[in-house]
Structures are given as structure tokens and as C-alpha cells.
């Protein structure tokens, strides 16, 4: 399918859908209704809308699951759609700051080569990174891994920086030096400078972050992989999502270290 010809629908009513709608408009993609695009590409931004979206599609269409989902469900849905002549790609977006999409963020894709060939050009046109991860479901697995490692990077960096800060180092010095050393990670590159400069790095809520980690931990248990660090991170993020404010974001994870240790990076 040539995405330049196929009609495109965007299904979902959440922050992800809003960000995608903005960017689709910005790059000149004319978004149709689900009915008008039933033989084209249906971009589904909300997992709750997958079944309904699937039901509207006709043979030759492709359903693109952009939500953070389950690989087993994706494989089951893909098989059912295949029997109706409909393609499927899981392409969840990992983006810690939707307000900065597509400058930040990456689509992590799974699907058959044919389905991917028909969809990845459209995703690439949006401007974010597009990474092909494997067969159907691989996108969801990859996103779970990426989400968890990203949060672990951040939390490990906050813990280490907390130790350094309490032992006399400045956040600015730690950010500046660690980024040139073997401890470098997205936390040293983004989080420490943001703390030093009183900026934000994320609009992803702690509730969503906890859901991502729960998904990852469940996937790990399903295949017997002992994700010890991620499991510990999940418990802490879940607790934080329930004790910090309702609109707390990933940036507020610093409170775990600060509050638990009795200091503030800002003092």
C-alpha cells in the first residue's frame, strides 16, 4: 500500500492522539474519518479503541496500533485481521514529552515486512525516529523495554546525583562531567542539566510511567526473565504516583530521592 494514496484515519481521544493530529496536519496529511479510511491506514492511539477500529476496516486496509499494548493481544488481533485481508503493525510511540513530539520520541514497530513497508513511510513523514523491531508484537515488547530502561536511567542517575550532592558536588558539575564518562545516560544528558537550570524534561505522568513499568514487569514474568532493577523501579514509581500530586510527571521522581533523603537539589 502506498501511504501517499491510501486515506489515513486517526482514532483515539487522548494526549497521544492530539499530538499525532497536530503533526499529521503540520506535514500535510489529510486525516479522514474512520469510515472514509476503512480501506486505508487506521492509526489507533488508544488501546481501548482497537477492536472498534478493527471492525470498521475492510480488506486491503492496515491497522496501526500506536498505543502501549500487549504483544500477545497484538498477535491475536493481527491473526484475526489477516484472515480478513487486513494488515497490522504495532508501532507504539515512546515519548517522555509529547509537547516536544516529534523532536523527541520514537515509533517502535513490529509487523510483517509487507505491512511495515506500507506504514513506516507515513510514520517517518511525521518526523520522529522509526525503529523496526521485528515481527508483530515486537514493537510492544521493545516499547516496554525502552520505557523501563529510560526510567531506570533516570532513577539511577537521581540516586547517584543525590549521593554526590550530599557529598559536596554540584548538579551542574555532575551533569557536565558524567556525560563525558562511563556513567553517561539519558539522565546525565537531560535530567541533571534540567535540574541545574530549573527546566522540565517530561510531561509523561507518573501514573502512565507506572503503567508502562507494570506492563514491562508482567512481560518479564511471563517469560521468566528476572528484571530485578525494573521491578524495584516499578514499585517506587507506583508509590510515587499515588503519593505525589495527581499531575506529577517523571520530573517529580526527584522527590523520591529528595524526600526520602531529606534534602533538595535546589537548596
Amino acid at each position: 500500500m502506498d501511504h501517499k494514496q491510501a486515506p489515513v484515519a486517526l482514532i483515539g481521544d487522548n494526549a497521544l492522539a492530539a499530538a499525532l493530529a497536530r503533526q499529521l496536519h503540520a506535514v500535510g496529511v489529510d486525516v479522514q474519518s474512520a469510515a472514509a479510511a476503512r480501506s486505508g491506514v487506521a492509526l489507533v492511539a488508544d488501546a481501548a479503541a482497537l477492536d472498534e477500529a478493527a471492525a470498521t476496516l475492510s480488506s486491503g486496509a492496515t491497522l496501526v496500533d500506536l498505543s502501549a499494548g500487549d504483544p500477545a493481544r497484538a498477535q491475536s488481533l493481527a491473526q484475526a485481521l489477516h484472515e480478513r485481508g487486513i494488515g497490522f503493525v504495532d508501532a507504539p510511540l515512546h515519548c517522555e514529552h509529547l509537547g516536544r513530539f516529534p523532536a523527541e520520541g520514537a515509533f517502535l514497530c513490529g509487523g510483517t515486512p509487507q505491512a511495515l513497508a506500507g506504514v513506516t513511510p507515513l510514520l517517518e513523514r511525521l518526523g520522529a525516529e522509526v525503529v523496526v523491531c521485528g515481527d508483530v508484537g515486537a514493537g510492544h515488547v521493545a516499547r516496554a523495554i525502552v520505557s523501563a530502561v529510560a526510567v531506570c536511567n533516570r532513577m539511577i542517575t537521581l540516586e547517584g546525583a543525590g549521593m554526590g550532592f550530599r557529598n559536596g558536588l554540584t548538579v551542574a558539575d555532575m551533569g557536565r562531567v558524567l556525560e563525558r564518562c562511563s556513567g553517561s545516560n539519558s539522565g546525565t544528558a537531560r535530567v541533571l542539566p534540567a535540574i541545574a537550570e530549573n527546566r522540565t524534561t517530561a510531561d509523561m505522568t507518573l501514573t502512565d510511567a507506572a503503567a508502562n513499568l507494570e506492563r514491562c514487569v508482567q512481560l518479564a514474568r511471563r517469560v521468566g526473565a528476572p528484571a530485578l532493577i525494573a521491578t524495584q523501579a516499578y514499585g517506587q514509581v507506583l508509590a510515587a504516583s499515588r503519593t505525589v500530586s495527581a499531575d506529577a510527571t517523571l520530573d517529580d521522581l526527584r522527590l523520591l530521592v529528595e524526600g526520602g533523603s531529606g534534602f533538595s537539589f535546589s537548596q
Binding site: C133, G134, E159, G164, G183, C216, Q232, F263
Partner: protein, 297 residues
């Protein structure tokens, strides 16, 4: 400049190599072969620390532990016995900041200034002269020895006038490196059990905020069948415990880092004190019951 270098092991030897061609270098190490190699390069061998210090304006140490530094500085025939007032001691050991501050105070009473200047980077960067040197101590002393340090590597950082800050930052670096590695290896093992290739996971991790030193270095090396580290596992464990203990001493909660240290401890218990850091790859594979690359041995 007349420079003395004590500790010609894997890292110290690599660092000192950058100095022997540019300065009048006096060396000291328990390993006679290591000393002989430097003599061949033009260095002068010292019988003990005091003799080395008498021949040097700046004495650099790169030893396994602060206890070794203490012995080298203040033990019988130690460096302190031979230092002239106005000399400088530079400690490149990944040591204990509080102990280093105590050494600095003692040396200051003898008219000798001190910096700590631990390094961070793979052995290859030390050999190539691109390792990061993280220094701390009086600004005037730093300004005086900076040209010497930049002969080792241009990547020199000054992180404050309090001696020991460099070692503190090195400790932060070490625990970040170790903990992110364990977290990443565990989750990559999960990915392998779902059939994702390491190549796909590397691409995904490094295109996002999941990127870290291990996803950029160790992971591609695994795919290519290369070794990416050259370090004893027990020493990484020591470094991890040092960082976590420094946090505990100041009341800082570090649960993820402490857990990572625990995983390293189980690895040392299983693999032995002489195990190499590279073996952590196979260890995490065994914990997960998978292989990062099919047929990887």
C-alpha cells in the same frame, strides 16, 4: 617537569605512558616487569617512595585503594619523607574521599599541595589519551599541574576546590555505570526471550531516552563478539559498595543502586574473586535462561 609515577598497573601504566616521553619520569611499582618496561622507555626506577619524591616536583599515584595510597605516602621510606615543600601530590586512585582529605591535610602541614584526579573511561581511552580526568583541589594547584594532566588526556575537568570531590564524582560515575548496565542487560535478556534481536533492541534503546553507556558500547560489542571491558568484577563491586555506602553515610536512599550492587555480589559469589566484568554478560544470560546472540559462548 620532574614527575614521579607510582602504580604502573593496567590503568596507571597506560596513563604514565603518556608522560614518559614528555617529562623526566621516575617510576615505582611492586611489579619489576612493569618498572622495566618504563625504564626501556626512558624512565628512572626508584627504590622507594622517598627516593621517587626527592626526584619529583609532582608525584602521581594510581593504586587500587586509598589504603595503598596511605602506605605509599606515609609508610616507611614513603613519599612524604622525600617531598620538598612546594611539591604537589596527585592521586589518580579511585579512592575514598574522606581518606584522601586526611592525606591532603597531613601533606599540607608539610607544605605540600594535593589534588585528587581519578579517571573514567575504558582502557582503550586511557591508551588513546582520551580518558576523562576528574580533578579537585585548590585552584592554584590545579592550574599549575593542568598542563601535565592534559599531556595524559585533553579531557580534564575541575569539580571544586575540595580535595576528594573528584573521587566522589568518580564514585557517582561508577555506580551509574554499573547500575544502568545491570538494568539494561536484564531487560535485553527479556527482549531476547520474546525473540527480539540485540540489533533491534540496540536501535530502539539508543533512539530513545533508554540510551546509556552500555547500550552504546557493551551491547554492540556483544553482537560483534568483541570484549568491551577489561576490569575485575570484584573491583566493580567494590566501587558499587563505596558509592552506596557514601550515600548511606549521608542518609541518601539509593534502592536501585543498592540492588544493582547486590546483583554484582551474587555474580562475584558465583564466578569467584578473579572473575572479569565481561563475565557479567554470561551471568545475566544464565539468570534469564537465554543468550543475547545465538551460539554465543
Amino acid at each position: 617537569m620532574n614527575v614521579g609515577y607510582i602504580g604502573l598497573g593496567a590503568m596507571g601504566g597506560a596513563l604514565a605512558t603518556h608522560l614518559v616521553r614528555k617529562h623526566a619520569l621516575t617510576v615505582l611499582d611492586l611489579n619489576a616487569q612493569a618498572v622495566a618496561r618504563f625504564v626501556e622507555l626512558g624512565a628512572h626506577p626508584a627504590a622507594n617512595g622517598a627516593e621517587l619524591a626527592r626526584r619529583s616536583e609532582v608525584v602521581i599515584l594510581c593504586l587500587p585503594r586509598s589504603s595503598d595510597v596511605k602506605q605509599a605516602l606515609f609508610g616507611p621510606n614513603g613519599v612524604a619523607e622525600g617531598l620538598a615543600r612546594g611539591s604537589v601530590v596527585v592521586d589518580q586512585t579511585s579512592g575514598q574521599p574522606e581518606e584522601t582529605r586526611a592525606f591532603a591535610k597531613e601533606l599540607a602541614s608539610r607544605g605540600v599541595a594535593m589534588l585528587d584526579a581519578p579517571v573514567s573511561g575504558a582502557m582503550a581511552t586511557a591508551v588513546a589519551g582520551t580518558v576523562s580526568i576528574i580533578t579537585a583541589g585548590p585552584r592554584a594547584t590545579y592550574d599549575r599541574v593542568r598542563p601535565l594532566l592534559t599531556d595524559i588526556s585533553p579531557n580534564v575537568f575541575h569539580v571544586g576546590e575540595t580535595v576528594g570531590n573528584g573521587q566522589t564524582l568518580k564514585a557517582v560515575n561508577n555506580i551509574l555505570n554499573a547500575s544502568c548496565r545491570i538494568a539494561s542487560l536484564e531487560l535485553a535478556a527479556m527482549g531476547r526471550k520474546y525473540g527480539l534481536t540485540m540489533e533491534a533492541m540496540i536501535a530502539a534503546l539508543n533512539a530513545t531516552t533508554a540510551t546509556n553507556f552500555s547500550t552504546r558500547g557493551m551491547f554492540p560489542a556483544i553482537v560483534e563478539g568483541r570484549q568491551s571491558t577489561k576490569f575485575r568484577l570484584a573491583l566493580q563491586l567494590k566501587d558499587a559498595y563505596q558509592a552506596v555506602n557514601m550515600g548511606a553515610d549521608k542518609g541518601v536512599t539509593m534502592p536501585l543502586c543498592a540492588l544493582a550492587a547486590g546483583v554484582l555480589q551474587t555474580a562475584v559469589n558465583q564466578l569467584g574473586d578473579d572473575a572479569q566484568l565481561e563475565q557479567i554478560i554470561a551471568y545475566v544470560e544464565s539468570l534469564a535462561g537465554t543468550k543475547y546472540v545465538a551460539n554465543r559462548t
